[in-house]
Symmetry: C2
Subunit: 339 residues, 2 copies
DNA sequence: CTGAAAGCGCTAACAA
DNA sequence: TTGTTAGCGCTTTCAG
């Protein structure tokens, strides 16, 4: 059997409460006592039973991170950032994949596992604005992503509209005349695709240009292969363009590949900018200009907001919206063009 | 406060034991009783307190996965496979990153968090054969990776030597005369680099060719930028070759980029094959031939072996070594060459 | 087939 | 400054 507080107490010749005090850094302990207890702990190799502590204190020291899919580089990097931020608060992270499926998102969110963690970070993908009421769960919750705003929980996101506008303006500044909005979702207003399209339109309009609907290209999923496929179709129907704002990096990379296969040079013939700043963009050929969405800041903010809610679950403070700062990252795919 | 078994028992007019029986699918319950209890559970929205259950039963239903770094695509895909395999056993996964640092690996492995999970999957990177004794922990453990063999715990890995040999033979079969072993680690025998180099040497030898030491290129870390850098240096010193076996996909992709910048065509001038079959290899330009290390099988095997150990922690069965099957995946980077 | 009661290891009132 | 004690919610003998 494992060593318990009792064993340590007996070995150190003190009561179990004293051992508990030492472990929990209770301030008023005689130095000699503390030393004796610590020695006993080391000697016996005592480690606290976290289930017991969780039962008693109501805290487990774990949080859950719900994301669509770790194979997606964006979410893997988000998870990494979250785990490092959580580590600084001595929290451990349970990751649960939703596959971006509505049923699964709800299942995970309302499942019994939520009772195993102190709080949840939920990167929403399938649920939408109309489902906001379903997010009202007993566990402290912070939402991530662009699907639900002003819901019943705190929300950390990026400046989608502004960032997309800045990306588009970057291409306009390069002298691009016909800029593709690549990755739209039909009829979506809220959501990454909808918001980024809005930013694109704002930039075009601010430049005093007419909006050419034929330059808006839908890409259903945002995997590399979807980007490649959509670009292949666009070229097949003879679409003409000299700039490309992709709504994420993966489809940008997929599109770049197809462009290059077609003998189109980047950035000379077409300048390309993506979205997310995943690691890979630094190493593609050419390296990909993109938007750094402030992932680190998002993760840090989300964890600390969650910590506050955990610390004071009864707080009456209404849910808040947080927006991380973005940055236009200029790389080869938009560099060296005449401006 | 949350709903407890007592509340459900009271609502259903039965004892707490009966509710517990229903929840745990105890077979001998009158149907009418079961129905009444289930109704009460649904009505009150009862969810079991997992800490209490964990304290009482000694099981938490969670396992820990220790990996170096989620930003590394290989480990992200491994984590995904593990989480899906674990899900099939109703296990949830806590991911902990070691950064591939020795101190951190030990810290995590011996930390108190291990008492929060039923078992651990540990993808070893920094610890080596001499540290095998440090893996003797009270929590059921399954090791992954190529660093420690025949240690005190079950071990699931891939056929490194055979796979590397097969990759090399694939290039030999294509007619390559000077094949680079790309990604070696000086003096390493055990470990991914060491084993894969062994496979390379076996293939060269079996083909009746002399081993040319100058074709063995060290690459310290295995990130894309390291591959690019090593290739740049190789070209600078005038190294001549027409084939490239990279010991992982990332350095293969980095090297490909540098080769292409130098005007070297793939596969016409240099045929390239990588290792790991990360998602990205399907979409690079050209797509990258590689070794599928049997990640799915590794994950499934690891989880089920761990489950067995958890089910019978006192088992005297000695630790076992498992090897997943590999597969040579031929893509554009080695296709269409005269054979 | 169901109920009563003990106790998993810990924290936190309350005492001393 | 330290000890005593009562549960946290659940599973599990042991009776009935």
């Amino acid at each position: 059997m494992a060593v318990t507080l009792h064993d340590v107490a007996r070995a150190a010749g003190v009561s179990i409460k004293t051992v508990s005090n030492v472990i929990n850094d209770y301030p008023h302990i005689r130095e000699s006592t503390r030393a004796r207890v610590l020695e006993a702990i080391a000697e016996l190799g005592y480690q606290p039973n976290l289930s017991a502590r969780g039962l008693r204190s109501g805290r487990t020291g774990a949080i859950s991170l719900i994301i669509p899919d770790l194979k997606n580089a964006y979410f893997a990097e988000l998870a990494d950032a979250v785990m490092r931020a959580a580590g600084e608060h001595d929290l451990v992270v349970m990751i649960q994949q939703s596959g971006g499926m509505r049923e699964r998102e709800l299942e995970v969110l309302h499942g019994p596992r939520m009772r195993m963690v102190d709080g949840v970070l939920f990167s929403v993908l399938a649920l939408g604005q109309d489902d906001a009421h379903l997010l009202d769960i007993p566990t402290p919750l912070v939402m991530l992503g662009e699907r639900i705003f002003n819901g019943p929980a705190d929300h950390v996101t990026m400046k989608n509209v502004e960032a997309s506008r800045a990306a588009t303006e970057h291409l306009i500044g390069l002298g691009c005349r016909r800029i593709l909005a690549f990755g739209a979702h039909e009829n979506e207003v809220i959501g990454s695709a909808g918001l980024r399209l809005t930013g694109y339109k704002q930039a075009i309009e601010a430049a005093g240009r007419p909006l050419d609907e034929s330059l808006i290209v839908n890409v259903g999923n945002w995997h590399r292969s979807d980007g490649a496929e959509a670009m292949r179709a666009a070229l097949a129907r003879g679409l003409q363009f000299d700039g490309l704002v992709a709504f994420n990096d993966s489809i940008a990379l997929g599109a770049m590949r197809v462009l290059q296969e077609a003998g189109i040079r980047i950035p000379e013939d077409v300048a390309v900018i993506g979205f997310d700043d995943i690691d890979e963009t630094r190493y593609s050929l050419p390296s990909l200009s993109t938007i750094d969405p402030g992932r680190e800041e998002i993760a840090r903010t989300a964890v600390s907001v969650l910590m506050e809610r955990i610390a004071d679950p009864a707080s009456e403070r209404p849910p808040r919206e947080y927006e991380a700062d973005f940055r236009v990252v200029v790389r080869e795919s938009t560099m060296g063009r005449a401006s």
